[in-house]
Symmetry: C3
Subunit: 317 residues, 3 copies
């Protein structure tokens, strides 16, 4: 990546880019073991977090990642913004761009919003989730987690279970896992799988939950309750849980379980699995912080004017 490269989707990255970012994340991970977790790497830089959909974990981890790197952060949330007064995303970005930020981190309910935003700013844009589009930092932290907790994704078998149709987590994750050489099986009700998914991504598709049996890792997707209303993608949550819930009756010991959160205990996953020793959910959260530090560093790396920035400046701030 060159100076101020944006990260809009996993397709923006080559396997080498991914390896470099995860390597940077390793180094920040070592910093997070220290008592003082702050480094001066991005001192004087400004990160604008523009979150136009509710979020806790992604917004908090980006905010904390930026602060741990000593950047200044301004967080703007959907409510109380001028966008409520009818301003377009374009005009919001043009205004914020005028303040000279270094990075925009954007979550938006519509697919393509981050790419659109990128047309109106010289700052790097990081897609923190655009509707049912992509969520590339989630895919990176998932790769990092698999690599740390299970082993190289190359040749691993990963089952992704649930609402792939509406899931940006699945969309970015599928691409990333495939790019790094994993075998992927999607397990979901047919109504929740995009047409031609198998051919497009080179993945197997099944509607039978028993097909997770062979997987090294079972990645459970959140059942987005708000999407289940009138549309009727599934008959009912109870029915969905009966057919597809990932629980101990369906797992064998040692199968690792991932979930991007927030979890619906008792719907797509049982509480016992969430709390069990095979779950990687907390590792995902912890890795989210260091991977987002690495992404912030990476998109700005070439723009470094301070010697301390170029060499990551990992002494305590």
């Amino acid at each position: 990546m060159s100076a101020r490269t944006s990260l809009l989707g996993i397709g923006d990255l080559s396997p080498d880019d991914i390896a470099r970012i995860l390597g940077t994340a390793e180094r920040f991970g070592a910093v997070m073991e220290r008592d003082i977790k702050k480094v001066p790497t991005l001192r004087g830089r400004t990160v604008v977090n523009l979150f136009l959909e509710p979020s806790t974990r992604t917004s908090t981890s980006f905010e904390l990642a930026a602060k741990r790197l000593s950047a200044d952060v301004v967080s703007i949330r959907g409510s109380g913004t001028s966008m409520e007064k009818g301003e377009t995303l374009k005009d919001t970005i043009l205004t914020l761009e005028a303040y000279g930020p270094d990075v925009f981190v954007i979550r938006h309910p519509q697919v393509g919003a981050c790419a659109l935003a990128g047309r109106y700013t010289d700052a790097a844009v990081i897609n923190a989730g655009d509707g049912a589009g992509e969520h590339p930092t989630q895919a990176l932290l998932d790769l990092y987690t698999v690599q740390h907790e299970v082993g190289s994704p190359d040749g691993l078998h990963i089952a992704i279970v649930g609402d792939v149709l509406h899931s940006r987590v699945a969309r970015s994750g599928l691409r990333a896992f495939r790019m790094m050489g994993a075998r992927v099986t999607v397990v979901a009700p047919p109504t929740l799988v995009p047409r031609h998914l198998g051919e497009a991504f080179g993945v197997e598709v099944s509607s039978d939950i028993r097909d997770i049996a062979d997987a090294d890792v079972v990645y459970v997707l959140r059942m987005q309750l708000e999407r289940m209303g009138e549309g009727g993608f599934v008959p009912s949550l109870e029915e969905y849980a009966r057919m597809y819930q990932v629980n101990h009756a369906r797992l064998r010991p040692g199968q690792r379980v991932m979930h991007a959160g927030p979890v619906n205990r008792g719907v797509e996953i049982s509480g016992a699995v969430v709390d069990g020793s095979d779950a990687l959910i907390e590792a995902q959260a912890a890795n989210g912080l260091v991977v987002r530090m690495a992404v912030l560093y990476d998109v700005l790396a070439g723009a470094a004017s301070e010697p301390g920035t170029g060499d990551m400046a990992l002494e305590a701030a």
Copy 2:
């Protein structure tokens, strides 16, 4: 207290603990007299403010206390969080815990929520109000205020007037005042006093506002208007005000008046008393800041790895 001790209720503290914290607050109070009010004491530490009920004064004073100590602060408010998507408090805490914060400051509408949170994190947890449970930093700042503005609480007579039943301020305050040797009289309509309060806390209970006459300090509780609806604890606000409002007709000069805010002028207290020279309300707010600085310092004190932290590092940051 040892390293990263939580503060869930006043009962967690001995009189010695209280004296130590108030002594620390004195030292920070001296810093607040300076033109530059910031010290490097908690540089590199992370404080997560998780406020799941509306709050201005408590959330602002904790945020400012952390910033004056040079800590990084991430503030999460109820709206716009994943908890709105049905996530449990447990899962929210587990996620945030993964980011390695040093302290959680939590306000939550349910009694016991902070204690529950403490089971899922290694960070210190400070209870900033849990439903009708406790609000220990309020009690500490009230003690500090009495000590500064009136004198040692030992032997003082403090009247607490109003809705004790629903008040975490009263619950923590009663314990703290009693622990430090004050005589306490509760004055309230019988419907707003918990059964067996008198025996449980060693306090006198009266339903006659004239019984404040003998008190050195009259502590007025907020009439929580939102609790007065259908339940009908009092016939009407007008009736409550007629019977129990603390106003100049019921006070003698020199009786000091406290209120944790926000005040309902004209309901539980008259505007003239709020603005009068015997009111300690602004002193309470000011002391809230230094007492919260002291509590943040105290829960982290043993965890210090930097020499500067251990000795409070009171030079300007």
Copy 3:
């Protein structure tokens, strides 16, 4: 201005004050050209942003201005505050004042709220918009923009088009432009012009959009859609747009166009004009940041206790 002077309206400033502030903004503007845009000028100072109306650009630019000056910022927004529990502005200010802030930046839906707030604090108060009252930092950034992009306002002809009646932007702008020697023509439907505006401010008033023809700068006011309801100041938005929309058919090349944002594309201004090369809208946003840095510096200048603060401390922070 002396130490901790407030800025409640443009009338608080003399032409000399304005020249000094804009000169300070020039110097901060040079800092913003650097890669590291942060300076230590207000380190250790505390800015409280109290925004009780929705805002993105003003609140963000004040927050970022304070952070670029190394001040600590606490941002309080309308929702989730104690004011929702019925607390008066007076009591909110008294509480926040107790924390010893250096500056309050206040936006409030009622005229005069900032002046009222100023009665209860020793901190400087900056009016960031009080109802249909004033918005002095907008006027300063508009002057700065005219000076930079067009030339000295002295003798320029500025047309202000739209809802002057409800506009604090117009109210402060008119005063500022007139004070600096500009000729001002207001163009608006008669229902949207305050009575006696012409005499009071020494401006020309017209209801014919063709009267912008002679202007060097056309300043377009936002049509506040929320004000157009039952009251019926204009028959309909379509009718307003047909009569008063500023678009290329009504402008000549080289006429510069300003708008304080957020814009309603296709209502008071055409999208083509917003995006055109004669628009100064992005320059206004960028200048807003440096002018607000200058105002924060100016209201605190006399209070400086650090040598570094007094001389603006423009080395990188």
